[in-house]
Symmetry: C2
Subunit: 391 residues, 2 copies
């Protein structure tokens, strides 16, 4: 197949709130080939900044617009997608935003190829079968411990057997408050539901405080403590990981495979949480899945976008039996609900499987999501150099 | 002082060529305070992508536009600039392009503060005095070995006592051709002029080939071999650095302080080449200057933009006596020449000093650079959300 068009879309809720909820907007890429097939992908990025990477004027031979890099490429095999990825990394070598921007295109190419070859992506990636994942509902902490307890009770009613709370006021008041947030989360969940804590990088480079919190949280049965430190605080992660009574999780801030490898080798994290929508798509994510296994860490997805990205992430570790957790965004964003006709559901036992259709296995409904579409038009010297497509 | 306005500028040559010459465009930020002072900074970035980071709609609490992050901030001391930097890193935590985009603002804040306190930036950074640097002219390889020899002769006539050749056909033909490029560079320079080779990442993750080339180049007296590998090929750099007969240089691809630390600790590079216009400005660059010294490596600037960025970089290691090399772009871009009224010149002995004026110490001439100004207007749903300023 030859790529014939690359269409870009920007969706957002009418009112975006200043909270750590990534499900409020979305950057989607549609790739169409000369066979009439189309593939979809999604980035976890500022949609405008990602869009700009596709239409930016050339700065020099290492900053070339992604539209130009992708246009006319041939895609008949997984190796073609890897070749295009390598090509993009060279031609946009000096574009720091490349992994965030390119992610949606890479996923769209895998979706397209899967449809072309009539295979789910996970098979193209070399897995014989998929293993259902245990979903943990991902929620923000309430503004108070009491509110957190109420949210926890709702999450249990929604059928989750595992729940993660993150961000919100964690790390912003004092130790007693932090511990009370976790205590009330546990109270709301009851004893049988797994509880993860996502601190939201509050202690930055201070692993002493992070360790103190880990000790304070331990009595409440916490599966992991996520992102207590800044994404690049690798040495501090190394000290924390070896001393913490709770396993340590991190990785969503990895924009490169090397950053993930660094976090495994020198940060010693027990759970590696990669977002395909940030690291550059399915292609580089596969390297991190293998690296996690090599380092004895458990791979987990980070996903706070629509089911386009959730499906993409599931394919990357579908066949890894020991990587059994799945982050499942519990925000209930109407944008997420509108994006696909075939949402990926949590079953009555709290598990999630991929649909077995070709490509991503989901049916994107841009027309329905169109309710949330926003139109970008970038003009240079009064001439339009790029616009979003109509959904 | 309070920040009153942040103005953004995009300059480009009328015809941008598809070669590895970063001096063909520029993203400039001007910050004005309520005292009537102004500061300037420059990024090494796609200007459009950097611009988009300043005016992007908020995605959530970790993707907030840089205009909003900077507006109304108070700047009275170096610690204020560091505080604003930390604030930006949290509020734009999930924006991969942040370091490239923010760099120009950070530099502008230091320029502004230096003018406010009537001090050159290097004094605000804690240096008592500056040490003149030995300039090496930075050129692209010619398309052939013969052309490279001719360029080398020109560089010597231009007064450089050290010359670096980079990119072009290096690594794209075969071993014999690569070695002949270096042989002819040396022939054109004569025996007394220092020669650096910037391979331009051709061997990616293949340190065996890179080592073979280092051995092939050694007879021609090469001061360092730069970027033979991909920026994130840290393990391969580690193997190469310990075996190479020529010192190894890398680092321009570091978008985070941790990436630089990783390259020093595990890549073992002998020269660390940081670009303040990519890593986020002067503030994070200072960490890398200290890290290089701690690891026994020599800090060198990477600069292929105007003298705004050249001056900013010089301040970061002005007082480091043992870091004595300075990259000085030899491309002769008319845009670079137009940008400042007080270009930083190479003296007759081949050395460069910073002017002793306050702030950056240079006089930016936006009106003259205005010949190359391009106008960006980003519209969302037909409404303009950001435009470049008139120079």
């Amino acid at each position: 197949m030859k790529i014939e068009s690359i269409d870009l879309f920007y969706f957002a809720l009418p009112k975006v709130r200043d909270i750590a909820d990534g499900s409020q907007d979305s950057f989607v890429v549609r790739v169409r080939s000369d066979t009439g097939l189309e593939g979809f992908g999604e980035s976890d990025s500022s949609p405008l900044v990602a869009f700009a990477c596709y239409c930016t004027p050339t700065s020099h031979s290492n900053i070339v617009p992604l539209q130009q890099i992708l246009a006319g490429q041939t895609v008949d095999s997984p190796d073609d997608i890897r070749r295009i990825y390598d090509h993009a990394r060279r031609r946009a070598l000096d574009m720091a935003h490349l992994p965030h921007a390119y992610a949606a295109a890479d996923i769209a190419l895998w979706d397209l190829l899967g449809k072309h070859l009539d295979q789910p992506i996970y098979r193209l990636l070399g897995y014989d079968r998929q293993h259902a994942k245990r979903a943990y509902g991902s929620y923000l902490f309430g503004d108070t411990p009491d509110e957190t307890r109420d949210r926890a009770a709702v999450a249990v009613r929604d059928g989750f057997t595992a729940v993660k709370f993150g961000w919100g006021p964690m790390g912003k008041v004092d130790e007693e408050f932090d511990i009370d947030l976790v205590r009330q989360a546990r109270a709301g969940l009851g004893g049988d539901v797994a509880l993860m804590v996502d601190a939201g990088t509050p202690w930055q480079y201070d692993d002493d405080t992070a360790l103190q919190r880990a000790r304070g949280f331990e009595p409440f049965g916490v599966t992991w403590l996520e992102e207590p430190l800044a994404p690049d605080a690798v040495a501090a992660y190394g000290r924390l990981s070896s001393a913490s009574p709770i396993p340590v999780a991190a990785g969503e801030g990895c924009d490169t495979v090397r950053a993930a490898e660094d976090l495994l080798e020198h940060g010693g994290v027990h759970f590696l949480q990669i977002d395909s929508g940030r690291i550059g798509g399915i292609t580089p994510t596969m390297h991190t899945v293998r690296l996690a296994a090599q380092h004895g860490a458990t791979f987990v997805n980070h996903t706070f976008k629509s089911h386009i990205l959730l499906a993409a992430m599931m394919h990357t570790f579908a066949g890894e039996q020991q990587a059994s957790w799945l982050e499942y965004c519990g925000s209930g964003s109407p944008l997420i609900e509108a994006m696909v006709d075939t949402p990926i559901k949590v079953d009555s036992a709290g598990f999630v499987s991929l649909p077995e259709g070709p490509g991503l296995g989901i049916k994107v409904n841009l027309r329905r999501a169109g309710e949330f579409a926003r139109h970008i038009d970038i003009r240079i010297d009064r001439k339009s150099i790029g616009t979003t497509a109509d959904p």
